[in-house]
């Protein structure tokens, strides 16, 4: 077999190799932030397939082409070598792209702009509650070793599940009471678990998605923002975006599929795509979604 050669993986802001690329997709809400002018970005964190910038409009993420579009993110058309970047390095972003030293590194001209807002009509109309719960439960049953999934089945194997189970109970109870109770209980759940985004934060994102539909954006937003104070920067950003009603493209596809009672194959594929996010993040989100549907949605009950 031929030995692999070192080749030009697209590097961003490298002094030797500068390959400008057009982004494949961008978050529409993020783009609106730049209508009033350019913003400064600073490299916050770098990973193999993603990186985060901090900015005055929150965290902005660059994603490899194999990922799905996330809130306030830029989906690249080509893989990029994020490791070439050092933390704190400055960039500028505006509606035309991301630039460093006056040169555009990533262009937005041909990027598809996608609105990642959760539709307010989700889980209404043709939505059937029981089949949605069954589909989620059936998938999660095979993944009880991931994150907090076991909580759906009253499992308490992991130290995190044992620790969080009573807090989750309180959250679900509080959700039946008042917005204030919900906000306080969400705060008590945030920031617990293994992983970069602690499992309980991902669970909260799924749970608050349903809360925002049932109780209005305001309560869910307050709960998410308060909870975000109790976790790390990256997870806090995800929580705040969820509070603003912004979710990943895969999550929105799943919500759409469940809302219209899509065919079983499509539903399972959509669930599997969400579950594939991160190590356990996707399953934790689905766990929150499961409890959220259980606690907040009405929908037609199965015959």
């Amino acid at each position: 077999m031929q030995e692999a050669k070192g080749g030009p993986r697209t590097r961003i802001a490298d002094s030797e190799v500068r390959v400008m690329q057009e982004a494949f997709g961008v978050c529409e809400t993020m783009m609106r932030c730049f209508e009033s002018g350019a913003r400064e970005l600073k490299v916050h964190s770098v990973f193999d397939r993603a990186m985060n910038f901090s900015s005055d409009c929150g965290m902005i993420t660059l994603l490899s082409p194999d990922r799905c579009l996330m809130p306030f993110s830029v989906l690249l058309r080509e893989f990029a070598d994020f490791r070439a970047l050092s933390r704190g390095r400055s960039f500028r972003i505006d509606k035309s792209g991301i630039a460093v030293d006056g040169r555009t590194e990533i262009g937005f001209e041909t990027a598809v702009r996608t609105d990642l807002h959760l539709p307010e009509t989700a889980f209404s109309g043709a939505f059937e509650k029981q089949p949605a719960l069954d589909a989620l439960r059936s998938f999660l049953k095979d993944h009880t070793d991931r994150g907090l999934t076991e909580l759906v089945f009253d499992g308490r194997q992991s130290v995190y599940a044992r620790f969080l189970a009573p807090r989750l109970e309180r959250l679900r109870q509080a959700a039946k009471e008042s917005d204030e109770s919900l906000i306080a209980a969400a705060y008590d759940v945030a920031g617990c678990g293994e992983g970069l985004t602690p499992s309980s934060d991902d669970l909260l994102c799924g749970y608050l998605l349903c809360a925002s539909l049932a109780r209005g954006r305001d309560a869910a937003q307050k709960a998410a923002y308060r909870a975000s104070q109790r976790t790390n920067d990256i997870s806090a950003s995800l929580l705040r975006r969820a509070g603003d009603g912004l979710f990943s493209q895969d999550a929105l596809s799943l919500i759409d599929c469940l809302s219209r009672g899509g065919p079983a194959g499509e539903t399972q594929a959509a669930i599997a795509r969400v579950a594939a996010f991160g190590s356990s993040s996707g399953c934790d989100f689905l766990t929150g979604l499961y409890f959220g549907i259980l606690d907040f949605t009405k929908g037609k009950e199965a015959m």
Partner: protein, 520 residues
Amino acid sequence: MKKLEVRKNAYYDSVTLMTISKEVKKLDGVREALVGMGTDLNRDLVVSTGLKTDEFDAVTSNDFFIAAECESEEVFDAVVKKVDELLTKKSEKSKSDYFPPTLDGALRIEPDINVAIISVPGRFAAGVAQDCLNHGVNVMLFSDNVTLEEEKALKEYAVSKELLMMGPDCGTAMINGVPLAFANVIRHGDIGMVSASGTGSQEVSTIIDQLGCGISQMLGTGGRDLKKDIGGLMMKQCLDALIHDDETKIITLVSKPPAAEVAAEILKQAAEGGKPTVVCFIGGDPKLIEQYGLIPAVSLEDAAHKAVALSRGQTPVVFDSFDMGRENAEKFAKQETDKMAPGQKYVRGLYTGGTICDEAMKLMIGDLGHIYSNIPLSPEDRLENARKGPSKQDTFLDFGDDEFTVGRPHPMIDPSLRAERVVDEAKDPEVAIIQVDCVIGYGSHPDPAADLSDSIRQARELAQAEGRYLSVVATICGTDADPQGKAASRKKLEDAGAIVLPSNAQATRFTQLMLKNLRG
């Protein structure tokens, strides 16, 4: 002793964190460990699990921490070393990998590239394959979840450009001596193969190697190619390539029985090609094949034996016995069943290779009547909830089927689920025999026999403790030249008490002999 390691403002992706967490807990001398970001609740948890140290108060939510209770300083030093090793390993691995960002980029570096292996999420796969074909690059599409319509369009386009479009879900090929994806180290020779199944190709090619002959080319089509919707487009294209390949003197075709009209077209093409051709339509009707003057095979092993005979200029004869001889096999089977307790009567087949699981069931179904499975031969024999639920009477499971692979690697890469099941099945007092495969070679787990032999040992001990005798019948799909080594793998399995037969068909026949003894 409680110890703490902190990486300030350090962000590692979740997969890395989970790996660190698992590996640290496995280290000898580590009594308890928590790994994570220093958020309030994670800190509370550290306190409540008694892992808090004085320095812990300085940990913030953006810090990565490892809190552990270890037997000694040395153990904790080993923990820190392990963490560094995992983090460094990951970054070194990333630095040495070559990732051409685009096909255009790869072709700029290597303009002569003419084959691409594509393994991307299914929804992108057709687009990437089309891009390759547009550039005149032959495709081996490892990905699945490509629609039939997409597959047909890609294959029609490939045929129009005289290119190969192997797949989707094509896991095995060997072109000009280069193994692609899951493949074994096989001698070069004059037998060309086209196959619609991964482990089917591996089983035939490794037995050909075992018998002293070799392969010129081994091409794959993907499992749906011979369905009516696709019409065998790639089987015909590959067959044509072999007919015109000077190095190929003998052709072997392997697949499940095709749609009737597709079978007729392929058999006609093979007959007109003029090269001796062995056809193994696993479980199919041999008469149809004979009508075209071609040579039918009754099993994958038989296909290999017949191809080898033809390669040596001999007359092919049916091979449906044992390398050890039928009489010896019968004696050996009796020795095994004589040790079993009353009530032990069922077989459980636990496979990582789908085609060889299917072959075993087809060879056995005539004797058993019903075999319950997640890939059943008849719809009424489907085993519901095969992954989590119990087996039923005679059950064969394909651990590579979707139900077992959602969110997990293929069992040939990660055989742990199958290993757990081997032990679970031993708890059933009615189980007499567990039949397993062990697929080695490129792409497979670095040492599947080690994992499997541990579980075989446990299973047999468990049965023995309850006064039963469990017979484990195994087959290794691979060669001695494979990285894992067939002989080394065989020794591990035999040391664990398994009976290792030279082929899947022989393993199945041996199981049949034992079942006959048990059921009369």
